[in-house]
Subunit: 223 residues, 2 copies
């Protein structure tokens, strides 16, 4: 199927162009954009709920939720206290920059500090599409198993932070943290990593401190 | 991006054509083909290991494993006692009929009763590509959460059996079985469902009995 390659490149290039426009729009408004990616059920939405609840007194948050169907996640973000926009992709397996552009047009960016984009639950396709966010965060989870970095290298290679969620389940599943971390280190040396549990709140503070540090660094750059 | 649609349809149609060839090849050899699909880490490989170990004295099994990278899963299937072929898709997010055709050419079909195809871990894309297998089995898992049927309707709609794995984790996570099952029932009424745990073996017998019944039914049809 060699004939598909030029078409795909053209779409990706158009996507990158819109992604750059999205980034400019965020920068102009002083908004830090984070792209949350994960397998289905790793806990993206729970982590976003925690982020909103813990930081909403200090930061103005908005969430753009990507899903094949339903507005369950955007409803949860709104209930937690953030502006939220749901993108239903139909059958599409990822968000792209054009979808995010549409969502940004429905937000009041000048009233936002931090925008979290919750990508479609998928460990493969979202890694190939830039959105125009500043940092990508991968949420892994303990019950998924310790071999995921080895099996989904593209995703683990392309992120700036890694959350290992559901560490409260470590006693009940087979998960060799050392083997998992070795896989991550090969693909993305020195990657900042936050083992935590959205159920018990263990480890959440270090992750929240990282978000605030990134927010401050972003403000210094764009001001 | 309307101009993409005809190209995609052409690829799908070519895929369906090869899928029909794969099905004929399986039927000629009396092989029942099952397509196992799931989110990353739901337990496809563990279920396949159990299937091999429990049925290998009565059925000759082979496994075709699809992954973005590594041969971890095919190695596990081989260790459990089945012929196995690994397909590494590179970046591709699903198996297609052409990939399976290549894998079938490496197996001795006339020496096989049951072929399990382990698709790439992904709740979206694999649902769109026929392979030529006879039945599709979706492996859900409790820690993924009870909202997955609502959020990934395409996958839940297109399968002939559903395994709910990791029920041993029910005491430790929030998972409303009734809400989950309602979502499934809307999309796929009467879907045969096997709640089980590959860790404790609870519920495995009913699933294994289903596999054997399907095998017998298939033999009656193709003989």
């Amino acid at each position: 199927m060699k004939e598909r390659i030029p078409i795909v490149e053209k779409i990706l290039s158009a996507n990158d162009h819109i992604a750059a426009q999205n980034k400019s729009a965020l920068d102009s408004a002083g908004v830090l954009g984070l792209n949350f990616m994960a397998s289905p059920g790793a806990g993206k939405t729970s982590l976003i709920e925690h982020t909103i609840k813990k930081l909403k007194d200090r930061l103005k948050l908005a969430v753009v939720d990507g899903d094949v169907a339903t507005s369950i996640d955007a409803d949860r973000a709104a209930a937690a206290g953030a502006q939220s926009v749901q993108i239903n992709t139909g059958g599409e397996c990822h968000l792209d920059a054009i979808m995010l552009q549409g969502a940004l047009s429905e937000l009041h960016l000048e009233e936002i500090d931090l925008l979290i984009v919750e990508n479609v639950g998928n460990l493969i396709c979202p890694a190939s599409f830039k959105l125009g966010t500043h940092k990508s965060v991968l949420i892994a989870s303990v019950p998924e198993g310790d071999d995921k970095p080895y099996k989904y290298p593209g995703m683990y290679r392309g992120v700036e932070a890694l959350v290992i969620n559901k560490i409260d389940l470590l006693p009940y599943v087979e998960f060799d943290m050392e083997y998992f971390r070795q896989g991550v280190e090969i693909l993305n040396p020195g990657l900042v990593t936050f083992p935590l549990s959205c159920r018990t709140d263990e480890g959440l503070d270090a992750y929240l401190a990282w978000v605030e540090t990134e927010m401050e660094a972003h403000r210094r750059v764009v001001q």
